[in-house]
């Protein structure tokens, strides 16, 4: 990576004095701890036995370790399996659909010779500035399109992201020289031909960057599920987590206030704390493991996103 190389080169010019270097290393390390400790807590609780949570609450040093949280989760985890399936399905399908629509549109608005490319850019760009907001969209989806509580709610309303499309256009404009288009046109290639055999291959980084961003945002979306989904087969992972948390919290508070035997009995039937944390880990781990491998795309996306095309 160029970045690392240049940084090294700068360091060769003058190294930071050893004392200051140590100070910085320590400060940066303290912040690393601040970032990691909360996540470690979740991991530890997911591996604690129910007894030790009941006695000491959440702790970094449980009196007893156990895999029960994960065991229960997988044994009684039909809902988890459904949620995994539906989340993976719509994240992947949605990203592929989005990329198809967005890259094509980006190609169109990247054309400098096309008469309406400015008009099409504005049609897209205006939606970033002004929108109907939550309620009209909700009424549209539920009352007129009837796509609530179906898989389409995850695919259609999020098909095109104006910001990503503009980034894609910037990628096309900055990575593919105009002369290449001209040459292809002179050779008699049509736009579709140029798009498929010239633009797409040259443009893999851009597609990977935007694809990863949109994959992550779909994976992390809990709001759509909370607003539109009742069918348990269609509840996404993140919504499942939120629901689990809210139900437990609600029952806990009410049972605690009432203090009735019924309330206590109800509390017993709730998923155990360690199982809930195990569920959280199952939601988080895929991304945390995958992202360091894709980090360079994210960094690239960040920097291109800040360039105006």
């Amino acid at each position: 990576m160029i970045m690392a190389k240049e940084a090294k080169h700068v360091n060769k010019l003058t190294l930071l004095s050893k004392g200051w270097n140590a100070v910085f290393v320590i400060i940066l390390f303290i912040i690393v701890l601040l970032v990691l400790i909360p996540m470690v807590l979740i991991a530890v609780v997911s591996l604690s036995s129910e007894m030790s949570i009941a006695n000491n609450g959440y702790s970094f040093f449980p009196s007893e370790w156990s895999l029960d949280g994960y065991r229960y989760l997988f044994k009684t985890g039909d809902q988890l399996a459904d949620s995994y399936l539906v989340t993976i399905f719509y994240s992947v399908t949605g990203t592929v659909m989005s990329l198809t629509a967005m890259t094509m549109y980006a190609y169109v608005i990247a054309q400098k010779k096309f008469r309406f490319s400015r008009a099409f850019t504005w049609l897209l760009f205006f939606t970033m500035l002004f929108g109907g907001g939550l309620v009209p969209s909700y009424i549209l989806n539920v009352r007129y399109l009837h796509i609530n509580d179906t898989i389409w709610i995850f695919l259609l309303p999020s098909l095109v992201n104006a910001y990503y499309t503009i980034i894609l256009r910037t990628f096309i404009r900055t990575t593919i020289p105009d002369t290449l288009f001209e040459a292809a046109r002179i050779d008699g290639a049509g736009h579709f031909r140029i798009f498929v055999s010239i633009v797409l291959p040259l443009f893999k980084t851009g597609i990977a960057t935007v694809g990863l961003f949109s994959l992550v945002s779909r994976w992390n979306d809990w709001f759509t599920g909370m607003l539109y989904i009742q069918n348990p087969k269609l509840i996404p992972l993140q919504t499942l987590l939120t629901k689990l948390q809210n139900t437990i919290d609600f029952l806990k508070q009410n049972a605690a206030i009432a203090g009735t035997p019924d309330g206590v009995a109800l509390l017993r039937t709730l998923p155990d704390e360690n199982m809930r944390m195990a569920c959280t880990m199952m939601v988080v781990l895929p991304i945390l493991f995958a992202y360091p491998f894709f980090q360079r795309y994210f960094v690239q996306g960040l920097t291109v996103g800040s360039i105006k095309g």
Partner: protein, 317 residues
């Protein structure tokens, strides 16, 4: 007669130009997105008329009676409108400043470390929380603040504090806590962005500075920071255009939608959501949405005008 003919001729030619045959593929490629934009972006804008209606869900938009500004009167007659506006704007302003100061400091430190590998590892860790959803972050926060099992209460118990505090009812802890959570999640992303800018600064500046005997701190002070000033200024101004939008996940999930702390956690977006789902007051929540959209739009226009004056290249349009 002659003139008429040429006029028609020119018009005909121009029409021919508008629909050039070789552009057909372009229209086809734009079609899916155009249909999407019309249905899911422009159609809901028309739905904003609901803000002026007494909406009856069964009757629908087309036959519900118009009530003028009644929904807005209802919204602004309580203190709600003031509270949610204040919260949205103030939190966003604090978020912008806090995240900026932290991420610039971190980027400066990271870029001057002796070990590049350490810097890279640290950077990877910092960006992690950015990939967690607020559904997950809420659970992480709850692990600390839970009344019965939370770590904070457990530690307080060790220090001899008796009784359990329900942190979700304590108004005074939430403003700093929300600022912290927002920074925890967002600072890494910004740090990486600023690092990328720093690594793009030409090495010539530093070489010249070294020849002149500048220390590492002088280099940061006189080369790196001035180079950052520019992008920081622009992104500061640009972020002003979204100070009317609250981060729904942060303000709804993390405080667990607890009524007692609404005075310090409620923002425009959570208010709209609750007015829609709990109160079923479609008219008023649309009115609040319209208020947000219009003020947001005006802010964007003003900000863009300012940016255009300072630096036309960074303007949005």
């Amino acid at each position: 007669m002659v003139m008429l003919q040429t006029g028609a001729n020119v018009r005909w030619k121009r029409r021919k130009k508008i629909f050039r045959k070789e552009d057909a593929a372009l229209y086809l490629m734009a079609l899916p997105t155009v249909i999407f934009l019309l249905i899911f972006c422009y159609l809901p804008m028309g739905g904003l008329v609901m803000a002026f209606q007494d909406l009856n869900i069964t009757k629908g938009i087309f036959s519900s009676p118009f009530v003028g500004l009644k929904n807005f009167e209802f919204l602004f007659s309580t203190t709600d409108a003031w509270v949610i506006t204040r919260n949205t704007v103030c939190y966003n302003l604090v978020f912008i400043v806090v995240n900026l100061v932290i991420s610039i400091s971190l980027a400066l430190m990271l870029s001057s470390l002796r070990s590049g590998r350490y810097a890279k590892t640290v950077q990877t860790v910092y960006m992690m929380p950015y990939f967690l959803s607020y559904a997950v972050v809420a659970i992480v926060v709850n692990a600390f603040l839970d009344r019965d099992d939370g770590l904070v209460n457990a530690i307080l118990k060790l220090t001899g504090e008796v009784g359990k505090t329900n942190w979700y009812h304590q108004i005074e802890v939430w403003p700093p806590l929300l600022v912290f959570v927002n920074a925890w999640k967002g600072v890494g992303y910004q740090t990486v962005l600023y690092l990328a800018v720093i690594s793009g600064i030409s090495i010539d500046y530093y070489e010249a500075a070294v020849l002149d005997g500048a220390s590492k701190f002088q280099q940061a002070r006189y080369i790196t920071i001035p180079h950052l000033r520019y992008i920081v200024g622009i992104s500061l101004i640009l972020s002003m255009s979204s100070i009317f939008r609250g981060d729904f996940g942060l303000f709804y999930n993390v405080p667990m939608n607890q009524g007692k702390i609404y005075p310090v956690t409620d923002v425009i977006d959570t208010y709209i959501y609750r007015a829609l789902t709990y109160l079923n007051n479609v008219g008023m929540s649309t009115a609040a949405g319209l208020y947000q959209s219009v003020v947001g739009f005006v802010l964007v226009l003003i900000v863009n005008k300012i940016v255009n004056r300072i630096d036309p290249d960074s303007a949005m349009f």
